[in-house]
């Protein structure tokens, strides 16, 4: 790959594509689980990512003023995860649960409304302007640079990207363990297959719902924090911007297939970044301003051609 494409391709397109893909993957996991277990497209998911990032930042600032040094984002994210999960569960109880038996439209509209409420809340409390998450320019990791130099390449990966990719891997492994080795994980897969059968098998569906929100909330906050780490700044539209690609990733992978969602996320992240690479001499495939349209296009193609996704998820 190095000989064919070289420095620019790997460092400025491939690796950023992977990182973006990881972020999309984590967000898509929450969406695919909500979609398959609770049976609706949760539009508020992006905003939970965003508020998770904001809460993490707040924890970092607080620890700085209280203890003199700022917590690492991953540690500061822990209280954010707790709050985000609590938020998800509360929102579910008061705004989504009333519509469980009703048609899709109402609960999707409710989630749309939550999108507005959460975003406005963040704008009211933290202000509508950009905030710096991590100051300074991220320098590439010296170890990797030197190692690859000795192999006649040069791969520049800032530490933050390591955290993101490693973090995503760890979360995926943990999720895999949860879903295949624990009772509640198997229960989640069972409800995803058939909620009615789960009910008449004696499975406590409300517990499963809460577990879904926990996993979804955790992944959402992780995605939000990773995004903030990558961009090194926060703004109130960051969640909404991710929403379409995350939905696209979930659909691409197949609704209800968390690992499909991960693959979908990676594909879309890579596709987005690689679509603006100058493949044929001077011009890229599409103009950079339309990068975000890539995810949408992939999604529509999937919906028309193979709605069950790559890994044969649920069809509604």
């Amino acid at each position: 790959m190095w000989e064919t494409f070289g420095f620019e391709f790997v460092n400025f397109y491939l690796i950023p594509g992977l990182v973006l893909g990881c972020i999309y993957a984590l967000g898509a996991i929450g969406i695919t689980l909500t979609f398959s277990i609770l049976r609706f497209a949760n539009f508020a998911h992006g905003e939970v990512m965003m508020i998770g990032a904001y809460l993490t930042w707040t924890a970092m600032i607080l620890s700085d003023s209280l203890f003199g040094s700022s917590l690492h984002p991953l540690l500061a994210a822990i209280p954010a995860v707790v709050i985000a999960i609590a938020l998800f569960i509360l929102v579910d109880r008061y705004f989504y649960k009333p519509f469980r038996a009703a048609s899709t439209i109402r609960v999707v509209m409710a989630s749309f409304g939550m999108m507005l409420v959460i975003r406005s809340f963040v704008q009211a409390v933290w202000g509508p302007n950009q905030l710096t998450f991590v100051p300074g320019i991220a320098k590439p990791n010296e170890l990797v640079k030197n190692l690859t130099l000795s192999m006649d390449m040069m791969i520049l990966v800032p530490n933050k990207h390591f955290w993101i990719i490693a973090g995503t891997l760890i979360i995926m492994l943990a999720l895999s363990w949860l879903l295949t080795k624990t009772k509640i994980g198997k229960g989640m897969r069972a409800v995803s297959d058939s909620p009615e059968l789960a009910k008449v098998s004696g499975i406590d569906v409300e517990v499963i719902v809460k577990a879904t929100w926990c996993v979804g909330g955790f992944c959402a906050v992780a995605a939000g924090v990773f995004l903030a780490m990558d961009l090194q700044m926060l703004e109130t539209t960051m969640g909404f911007r991710m929403l379409l690609p995350m939905f696209a990733a979930a659909i691409l992978g197949g609704i209800g297939r968390p690992f499909g969602a991960v693959v979908g996320g990676l594909v879309i992240g890579l596709a987005e970044e690689l679509s603006v690479y100058p493949w044929f001499g001077n011009g890229s495939l599409i103009s950079p301003g339309y990068k975000t349209g890539v995810a949408f296009t992939i999604m529509v193609i999937m919906l028309v051609v193979r709605p069950s996704g790559l890994f044969k998820g649920r069809l509604f």
Binding site: K186, D193, S194, L197, V200, I203, V205
Partner: protein
Amino acid sequence: MSDLKALEIKDLHAGYGETEILKGINLSVKPAETVAIIGPNGAGKSTVVKSILGLLNVISGDILLNGKDIVGVAPDKAIKQGISYVPQTHNIFPNLTIIENLEMGAWTRSSGISERIDEMFQLFPDLKIKRNKVAGSLSGGQRQMVAMAKALMVDAKIMLLDEPTAGLSPKFQAQIFHTIKRINKNGVPILLVEQNAKQALEIADKGYVLVDGANKVEGSGQDLINDRNVARMFLGSK
């Protein structure tokens, strides 16, 4: 000897919302019995089973499980009380393995799960070989066995089966009926809804014929097989 029936239904009126489908059903299942409900399509056979489980609206009447009224009890609570249910369709989790399906059937159990799984594998040896296969990849007959094994993971005070042989080959049909009889001999009372009237009546101690949401005929399995009217209505086309 106690007169307590495993299941007793008295004058049951039930349906979907305001629409009444069952118009005063009476039936009972004694502790060691296999009872079959047969009748034409739309007679309300499946509706009886769904009412027991609390899946639809009971307008009036009693449903007693071992003497205890269970009208209005939510499905997952009903399972906890010992009702074992095999639905007609969508009765397994297709993306879970056989053994995971059984584990899900045992959700309400706090102990004895692995012992019960072993018992099920003894009852259904075919499943033991394929225990880690995903349930959706099995044949129709094998899936039905998984559904039944899963339903038996609870300590069943009664087992309800909704058309268990629908769409199966004759070989599997015979196997299913045979297994049902075995389960009954192991001490589980059975309430069986069937389209396959003759074979159901052959293994049944008692049978009820339902037409248009009401009891039409009842009697022992053999009596109903020999009854000319019943024979004319159902047993001509197996």
